[in-house]
Symmetry: C2
Subunit: 327 residues, 2 copies
Amino acid sequence: MLEKRNFPVKELHLFGSERSAGRKVPTKWGDIAIEDFSVDKAAKLDVVFVSVSGDFSKQYCDAMAKDGAVVIDNSSAFRYEPDVCLCVPEINAETARKSKRRVIANPNCTTAIGLMALYPLHQKYGLKKVIMSTYQAASGAGAEGMAELFNGVKEVVNGPEGTVAKNEVFAHPLPFNLIPHIDVFQENLYTKEEMKVTWECQKIMDLPTLPVSCTAVRIPTLRAHAESITIETERPVDLAGARAALAAAPGVLLKDEPAAKRYPMPLTASTAYNVEVGRVRNSVVFGDHGLDFFVCGDQLLRGAALNAVLVAEAISQPSGTPFSPKL
Amino acid sequence: MLEKRNFPVKELHLFGSERSAGRKVPTKWGDIAIEDFSVDKAAKLDVVFVSVSGDFSKQYCDAMAKDGAVVIDNSSAFRYEPDVCLCVPEINAETARKSKRRVIANPNCTTAIGLMALYPLHQKYGLKKVIMSTYQAASGAGAEGMAELFNGVKEVVNGPEGTVAKNEVFAHPLPFNLIPHIDVFQENLYTKEEMKVTWECQKIMDLPTLPVSCTAVRIPTLRAHAESITIETERPVDLAGARAALAAAPGVLLKDEPAAKRYPMPLTASTAYNVEVGRVRNSVVFGDHGLDFFVCGDQLLRGAALNAVLVAEAISQPSGTPFSPKL
């Protein structure tokens, strides 16, 4: 992503475990050998991207940030700490720029994708309620999840009738199935994945009391998450105005021509930088004070690596500059 | 389905096109030869099940019903006519029994599946708003749809990387994809499939002004539809009470033990007569006046053949009898 975004890299260090150390990775800045991770070395850099685990992040992020490195952490370790900016840079880059604590959290993928549409609609009409049902790809469970789905499907279609795939990564076999269970169940019977959407939408948009409810469902797709979203708004929504707000929003591709069969889908949203938004219509339930719409975004890009690199771009811009990157 | 339900068949006639006429079908009532369709012959029977097309139904159903046959029609031709009962027999069998017009409409599959959970909750708490997002199987587009998905998936997993399956039945390739477009788009930008859920929930529960909004999405599963449903209720909902109402409802299997990873899924709901209901929780958005829950039911059974045969069972029971079949 740093290569593709032409990030102004002066010096690139790649840290890994002892096991990976020494292996060379070809980059446009030369072949770089992976180094055994060292807090002290990392702390001397300008920007550190961390994508290991919550435990690793808790142990090392603040130590790396103490000498001035900005640490952009992809885990959920710091997301809900009040002095940590949870950042979708098109929305709250300024909070990241002004944050004293130099650890910045990259949000949950489902949240980041949905917010690309929710925030411009909030700015124009004011969000009152958000109800979301998700269609999440196997990549949310990592490369192992994608492999389990792909190989499982292969086993089913090539095997005798009635073959059921094995599962280790997912709670149940995913081929030709869906699983309404992502991450662990909470006391309120929502999953942690679902509550992440609630908590992170509230924090990133700075709307701490906004009611957001999510049902998170894993489906047999590979790497783009889709979301069916219903909103109630403070002010009346005219459809043309909503479309215009979405079309103008950074990070959004308005794809909403039903007659031409153009709407968001994993087939087209996978590998795309922009989040596709479509099926926009005034809600049967909330009338002109609400919308139903559908989004689809690449889980590995806006949901992870792209957002992290955009955070790094945004914080290197001067305070007060709205962040509207070319994608 | 007539065989499996031990329907009291005295005489079975199978009608088809000229092309099928003569072919013998093994049944537990003997090998029955398909007859070339004749309105007059069909009209002399007690019950006629029709599953051809809306146009066929419009042309022949009333003619078959005029001599006293009850015609149970699986098409959408008559669903919205005020003097036709649109029937989920556990809900409105009495309307079907009392209907003067002897054409009874079998509902849209998505609606019938969702209503199994919605109606008992309505009886206990009163529905105020219904918001639904669907996860619909390929079988909704018939055997051709199932074949296109299965063969398409086979092509993709066995082909070179980047293989995209062909599509004829669906608007786009369905393997590893989803399509937020089922049936044709209406003027209000909902699809007809989505509006069927609105219109049919209102008609079957006799709640003509109930706001119901649906987003209907085709996903790569084979024959069970799932639905993520949010409701707002007139009266406060206690979770134990809601669970008890669902557990007691005919046609429902309450499958709601998150800790044991038991919740509705196509893998378990396919070929089952009962609709699975789970993930029941008080809604973050509507608090104690609402629920989020998830349902999954076999599209070919409750969504079609089973419901049709249950209608026939229900109307042969005396008026005033609640219909609570053993499934």
